[in-house]
């Protein structure tokens, strides 16, 4: 039943409903009827899915054009356009496509590594010297980059299902990272226990920050968007403060705003040996996505979340405690963002500095938006953006295209998803019942 309560289906008359006459002639039109399946929960609405794919394609095209028209070599070639038009066009094409090829090689699969693998004397030495790992390194990096994006994306997607807009991924990430890091270097624990304690600490740290937001909304009606934005500043400066004094969290013997490295026991275990960075954090992210899917679609708790999200008044009349749900949703969401912080610290960085939170808070919104607010969608979107981030360095090294191209691609994707009419106009699609995260975002969540 829960599959029938998606975000993206605008109500419209169902063709063939045996009702007494034309009941609602005003909102005619066909509604895509796709039978819900658990795995396709996140991609259910055909229209929303098509819009998403087209938005991605459009973003790639725009990115390519941007690249072709800003690259200095190509710009010179454009100057000779009338004497050698073929040269300019070919160069433009090569630059645009070349950047994407490098990005692909950096994030998914690089043929050179396979060639290197087969040029080794024996398979045994190839594995020992890391040539096999080199083949899988791009995928590993993609997963590593995707891990915090998925976790933080879930921290936005879950509140979205409950009708709230969590822009506080950053503050909750910091909250989780602080606790996980402190437990990581400040406490000594046995092997398995230490890493688990740190992960739980990360959840608790983020959850505490999220809970403040939910509780303020529940008790005072403070809008979560305002509170989360403000808390982002509070936590960023709080972190800077912690990192400024040796008696707080600054590493001894340094003047830099950075903590001591966490203990080896607190590292998230690597999954495929020391040559690949992919670690248990990725599995944690997938498990959380599955857990959130289960929570939303298979439990009474999720039923309440979704009810409160869709229609708080009806939820209240049906006896649900709307305020308590707000607080609980933000608590869980904060915890998820906190896990993202823990995954970064324990999986790849091992120390906390005042830049550790990067742009995860904002990227999380992009991921949730692209994932249409559904757990599986978030995983796929997280992997996609993870791949962009993973491939960017190679792209820059090989073609000179700045890594900022990734930001451009993300921004364009969001622009097109938030404004479905744009995509419909570009591809001449018929207006259909696509009212998803994008539409909500462009109108303002919770408005």
């Amino acid at each position: 039943m829960s599959e029938q309560a998606p975000a993206s289906d605008a109500p419209g008359p169902v063709p063939g409903t045996p009702g007494p006459g034309p009941d609602d002639p005003q909102s005619g039109g066909h509604r895509a009827r796709v039978s819900g399946r658990a795995l396709w929960y996140s991609l259910r609405s055909g229209n929303a899915f098509i819009i998403t794919v087209l938005a991605l394609i459009t973003a790639l095209v725009v990115g390519g054009l941007l690249n072709a028209f800003t690259n200095t070599t190509v710009l010179h070639a454009w100057g000779d356009f009338f004497s050698a038009p073929g040269h300019a066009l070919a160069l433009a094409w090569d630059t645009a496509v070349g950047a994407y090829v490098e990005m692909f090689e950096g994030s998914i699969f690089n043929p050179h590594t396979v060639a290197a693998l087969f040029s080794q004397a024996s398979f045994g030495t190839a594995i020992h010297d890391g040539y096999l790992s080199a083949v899988f390194n791009p995928l590993s990096e993609t997963c590593v980059q995707a891990t915090p994006l998925i976790l933080a994306g879930l921290a936005v997607a879950l509140p979205y299902q409950a009708g709230m807009f969590n822009i506080g991924g950053q503050s909750q990430f910091i909250g989780g990272a602080i606790v996980a890091t402190y437990l990581g270097y400040g406490v000594s624990m046995p092997v398995v226990v230490h890493v688990i304690a740190c992960v739980i600490g990360g959840f608790v740290g983020g959850a505490a920050i999220g809970w403040i937001v939910g509780e303020l909304k529940a008790r005072t009606g403070a809008h979560e968007v305002i509170v989360t934005i403000m808390l982002n500043y509070v936590l960023a400066y709080f972190l800077a403060y912690l990192l400024s004094y040796g008696y707080l969290m600054q590493a001894p013997g340094t003047v830099n705003p950075i903590t001591a490295p966490i203990a080896g026991n607190a590292h998230l275990p690597l999954l495929f040996g020391s040559h690949l960075r992919i670690n248990a954090g990725f599995l944690l992210a997938l498990a959380c996505a599955a857990g959130i899917w289960w929570l939303l679609s298979r439990t009474t708790v999720g039923f309440e979340f979704r009810s409160v999200g869709k229609n708080p008044s009806a939820a209240r009349v049906a006896g649900m405690n709307v305020e308590r749900n707000w607080a609980l949703v933000m608590l869980i969401a904060g915890g998820l963002a906190g896990l993202a912080g823990a995954a970064v610290i324990q999986g790849t960085d091992f120390t906390l500095n005042n830049q550790s939170f990067g742009t995860y808070g904002i990227d999380a919104i992009t991921v949730a938006l692209l994932g249409r607010g559904r757990p599986l969608g978030v995983v796929l979107a997280g992997l996609l953006f993870g791949a962009l981030h993973a491939g960017a360095p190679l792209m820059q090294a090989a073609t000179g295209t700045p890594v900022d191209m990734v930001e451009v691609l993300q921004a364009v994707v969001v622009l097109f998803i938030a404004a479905p009419p744009l995509i419909r106009a570009i591809f001449r699609l018929r207006a259909a019942g696509v009212a998803g995260v994008g539409e909500v975002l462009s109108k303002g969540w919770n408005a």
Binding site: E3, Q4, P6, G21, T300, S307
Partner: protein, 516 residues
């Protein structure tokens, strides 16, 4: 001006909302358009007003074809429309609202307010509208706001005035005033198209009645046609306009409300010292013009609003400060006034809505695990029992018609164990067929010994259902009456007339909870 519609057809996808409709409105006539919800009345009027473009057919004005690309064209051709939901700016004065969009200016672009005020005064006098041009719209009662809408249309030189369900928001007295105004408009040469599903009103005011069913004209009748005939035309079969019911056999007092006062955050008193009781097996109907505290009374009974003073008891158990969930579990079934806002989650499946307040109870849940199979099975059973017309229980409830949505709510609320049924405006916006269904179910509940509290702004409904009538005015219960009370007396009570209130004392001495 003579207005004629010929062969108007409007399709929405596979739905034919208007099917070759012919209609002609003679000058200075009141032409009623009668039909159930969804019969296509509003679509037709939207076509006429330029909001929708017809797929086929023509609009003729004085025999000449006209086409309206937008309401602006329709207004220019002399057509005015008063929507069911008023299009007024609350913080503007009457004169400002009337001139909005057609402001006349003096040199330097200054608004000519004097001219606007004069226009309003002049029209107000000519048609006996009694509208003060300088009053702020937000301070005006609904009935007067409606007249402002009429003035708006008249200032724009409307020769044909479309009134869409104009009496839905009015008291009986205001309705009489409206009818008087319609008479004067007619005398002044304006034609009126009066859209309604209320048979009595249509008979009272119309010169000609056109009945629509399923998008097509099914007949034209003079106002002398009998109510039964019109109802049968409208619904397509013979309907029982009044549920047959046996005299009530009241049992013990189930709901006991004493001295209940409800205020909102701003301190405004909505319910003022209400005391009453509802016995098992009786229906107490609360009559009153909307906005006199009935909504707040129901919400306070359900724990959706805090009570300032007083107590609410269910079978002797004090529920004054109980949460909505505690009340539901204690045996209260609640049909909220606004079914789309408070009763249903439109995007959720029918099945989800049927378990909306029992999803966490066995067999629908074990622990926090939802048992989807049990929910679907139960919903399927309830949908069949309540004759909800839907393709499946997985269909989003928001896509169903109003009548079917209300059936979903009833299927849910009457499904869990209950001793008290509180139903607020249970048939608002429903068609005649659905009203019959809902009324039958409510009477059935009473006969099973459930205490029933009905709040309705429709006097017909109160008379049809209630075993005892309470009237609310400005938060106070101004009197209890048996269902044999004449309309005029109820009307006086609803208007808060002092003499009526005094006359009540005797009745009230019978004590709350007394049977008729």
């Amino acid at each position: 001006m003579e207005l004629e519609l010929t062969g108007i057809t409007k399709r929405f996808g596979s739905l034919v909302a208007n099917d070759h409709i012919d209609l002609s409105v003679a000058p200075a006539q009141v032409h009623a358009l009668l039909g159930e919800n969804g019969a296509g009345k509003s679509t037709l009027m939207n076509v006429l007003y330029g909001l929708l473009q017809p797929d086929e057919g023509q609009i003729l004005i004085d025999g000449k074809p006209a086409s309206f690309g937008s309401p602006r064209d329709a207004i220019a051709a002399g057509i005015g429309m008063v929507h069911q939901h008023f299009m007024l700016v609350p913080v503007f004065t009457v004169a400002e609202n009337v001139t909005l969009g057609i402001e006349e200016t003096r040199p330097l672009g200054l608004l000519d307010r004097r001219k606007a005020r004069q226009d309003v005064r002049e029209l107000s006098r000519r048609y006996g509208l009694d509208v003060d041009p300088d009053a702020l719209v937000e301070n005006l009662p609904v009935g007067i706001q409606q007249r402002v809408e009429i003035v708006k249309a008249l200032v724009r030189q409307a020769k044909v005035l479309i009134l869409d369900e104009p009496t839905a928001v009015l008291t009986p007295a205001e309705t009489q005033d409206l009818f008087r105004i319609i008479g004067q408009l007619k005398a002044g040469g304006t034609s009126v198209v009066f859209i309604s599903h209320k048979l009595k009103e249509v008979q009272a005011i119309a010169d000609t009645i056109t009945v629509l069913r399923r998008g097509a004209v099914v007949g034209e009748r003079p106002p002398t046609a009998s109510e039964d005939e019109l109802a049968a035309l409208m619904v397509g079969r013979n309907v029982q306009l009044r549920v047959s019911k046996q005299p009530a056999k009241p049992g013990d007092v189930v709901l006991e409300v004493s001295d209940l006062t409800v205020t909102d955050e701003t301190g405004r008193v909505w319910v003022n010292g209400a005391s009453f009781g509802v016995r098992a097996g009786e229906i107490l109907g609360v009559a009153g013009v909307q906005g006199n505290g009935q909504t707040e009374l129901c919400e306070a009974l359900m724990g959706l609003r805090p009570t300032a003073t007083g107590t609410v008891r269910l079978n002797g158990r004090d529920l004054t400060h109980a949460t909505p969930r505690q009340r539901l579990r204690a045996g209260v079934a609640y049909v909220p006034e606004d079914r789309q806002e408070d009763g249903l989650i439109g995007d959720f499946a029918v099945a989800d809505n049927i378990v909306l307040d029992t999803y966490d109870q066995p067999p629908f849940a074990s622990g926090i695990n939802l048992n989807l199979g049990a929910i679907t099975a139960y919903a399927t059973e309830r949908v069949a029992e309540f004759d909800v017309r839907t393709t499946s229980v997985a269909t989003p409830v928001g896509t169903l018609s109003g009548g079917n949505q209300q059936k979903v709510i009833l299927a849910r609320e009457l499904g869990h164990e209950h001793k008290l049924l509180v139903a607020s405006q249970p048939t608002r916006g429903l068609d005649v067929g659905s009203i019959e269904f809902v009324h039958r179910r409510i009477v059935e509940q009473r006969d099973h010994g459930v205490a029933v509290l009905i709040v309705s702004a429709e006097l017909d409904e109160i008379y049809a259902l209630a075993d005892r009538i309470a009237v609310m005015y400005e938060g106070k219960i101004t009197g209890f009456r048996p269902p044999t009370v004449p309309v005029s007396e109820l009307g006086r009570l609803m208007a808060g007339s002092a003499e009526a209130a005094e006359a009540t004392e005797a009745t009230e001495a019978e004590a709350p909870g007394a049977g008729p």
